[in-house]
Amino acid sequence: MSPRTCWHCGGVAATDPICPSCGKVQPPPAAGTQPDRFATLGFAPSFDEPPGLDDKFRALSRKLHPDRFARATPQERRYSLEQTTLLNEAYRTLKDPVRRAEHLLALRGIKGDPKMSAEFLEQTMEDREKLMEAKASGEPLDDLAKGVRERRDQTLHRVRALVENGSDLEQAAELLARMRYYARYLDEVEGRSVEL
């Protein structure tokens, strides 16, 4: 990629959202380029939440947010809106373990919906049935939720191992897709207690 120049001072702005030489907000990277959410916040890709993520997010928000550009030109206001949108998206991705892992795999070229294993789908149906039964009979859902929560945590550990030694990323993607199922299941269980 050729180095970008600042629209305002013509200096080399690299990919910084703010030009290092004149301090003007820069347009976001061209559409279609693979976004690196880690880089947006100034981190190297990692499976775990980068240390200091919240602080970095707040510091960048303070520089880029549209509120800081209420008196600026329409062009700068547009850049600020787009940069902040990207920043928010990046933060949301990095803050959540599953989204973060998915993004990590995407950066390594693993995309699209993986094919789920038959064994897992079977387990899913079984869990659903148990949940329906428990709901119908009014018995507490705590034990069911506890089991699913344990399997979710184990799954994430396996994903970490696979990603870290880089052996079978396809399988990592399949395991990761299971996380969505666990999340939905737990939402449903917890949702009930919240509505009460």
Binding site: R58, S61, R62, P66, D67, A70, N88, V194, E195
Partner: protein, 640 residues
Amino acid sequence: MPALFQISEPGDARTKEACTTGAVGIDLGTTNSLIAIVLGDGKPHALSADEGSSLLPSVVHYGAGGGPGSVVVGRSARRLAAEFPRDTIVSVKRFMGRSSADPETRRLSPYRFAEGESGVVRFVVDGARVVNPVEVSAEILRALRNRAEERLGIKVHQAVITVPAYFDDGQRQATKEAGRLAGLEVLRLLNEPTAAALAYGLDKRSKGMFAVYDLGGGTFDISILQLQEGVFEVKAVGGDSALGGDDFDRALAEILLEGRERTPHSVREAIDAAKQAKEDLTRVEVTTAMGRRITRAQLEAAIWPLIEKTGGPSRRALRDAGVPGGKGLDGVILVGGSTRVPAVRRYVQELFGLQPLADIDPDEVVALGAAVQADLLTAESPQHDVLLLDVTPLSLGLETMGGLAEKLILRNTTIPARATQEFTTFADAQTGMDIHVLQGERELVADNRSLAKFTLSGIPPLPAGLARVAVTFQVDADGILSVTAREQLTGVSQTITVKPSHGLTDEEIERMLLASIEHAEEDVQARLLIDNRVEAQRILKATEKQLETNGDLLSGDERGQIEAQIAAVRRAAQGNDHHAIHAEVEKLDQVSADFAKRVMDRGIERALKGHSVGEFDQGELSPHAKKAYSALQEAEEPVK
């Protein structure tokens, strides 16, 4: 020399250069509206907006004659509500951005509705005149703006207006239109609870996780915020845009109406009596309304189910914010007049397990926070270096096959936010694609709010599934959505800023804007007349009250002179010449000047201290701010 009416409402003490930018914060409330500004002292101040109070009742009366200026706003309008229930619009906020078919608009209310082309709510007032909620709200904003300009002696054209966090896109659009119609540049729509937190955070330099429980006249909002390192991050919001103190009044009014005939008059009367009784019962255990004895326990029994409706959204917001059950919460802030009801406070304490904070007047706190945000957005060097990060209150999505709603942006996503989803054609040679934009949490399209429908045409005729259309949602910092649909092969694209399906069409907005410009001069004349009449009424009342209570200070001659002038003012006020009214009022001022002085000497000064602009030490102020402060303080009137 003080004049009598200055005891209750001073004339034109004004503050030039009272602030740096003239950008105000406005709380456009269901029951009351307020306007506030950050002054040279760096603090937000609520300006007195109606008969000496900072609260301007959100009531608009459309008077006889039908002229574009025959509109009265505030307490004067509220006094007319009982006599003209259909021509006096109360709590218009409940109708903002709603269709006439909406169950919310069909509830107990005395109004006549007219069908509009686009299904938007329209009130028929003063015989045949038709006004919509945006126009009614614009009258309230205009009144606030005029009164602030009078107070400050500067032009006000920029504002931050607050909205309930739970307002959907249509309601936000409608609010923005009302601002535009009132001649204001709306710098930002700010969520009310966020504004309240801003007012608190600045005072307390807080750090931690806070809940803002905001129960106003017509809406309930719950927000969970984290305050850290000068950044206010909204973690979760929830609420009910059709629940508030008005519902308490209605519940009680139902009891008062038992066994009585329901007419627009009796309904209005019952609602007013219920409101009064509710307010009384915050202080006493028993009161009477429409000849009935009402106890606090009776009121609480009637409204408890309504109060409990705030529990669900609150628990959900706590969970969404990662503090389920309120564990880890550092404080609960109360906002909105309805949080004065003791039963509400009890419920909040139980719900969150914390003693709620209410140090700042719950009626003023939102406007004060909005003023701070207006200052942050416009000042060269704002008084406070903080940043607000807000979220989407409701999920945004699209209709997919089978009438299902697919969410693109989930609720509680930090804004600005964007999401893109690709769709393919489902028929061979399909050249158009319908895009149906939805807001809400439900799975079925029919259960969500429809925000907009449009068609992307010009897709190249290809076999099914080959043409790909990317739909992008962008939510800006006001929480307003724009949607772009783009066909990937040809680059055909179409963008719309989402307008509510039941909102106003562009033509209607255009017409309203044109009408407000055309009638500007007429409006000014009519308004001057009304203002002078209202002023005359107020002075008459004040003078007569003083004659009654302090009449012993006058000789027979003096009394005769004042009484003759009172009659002259009253005659002038019946005419249409605002100059004449003004002149007679001035004369009354002169003939009663000595009397006023004697009344003052009797100890009225004490009352003047009752309502001060602020509690801060003037020693901290710059000379410029000091001047502004003292002028403003002079301009404030005592609390009655």
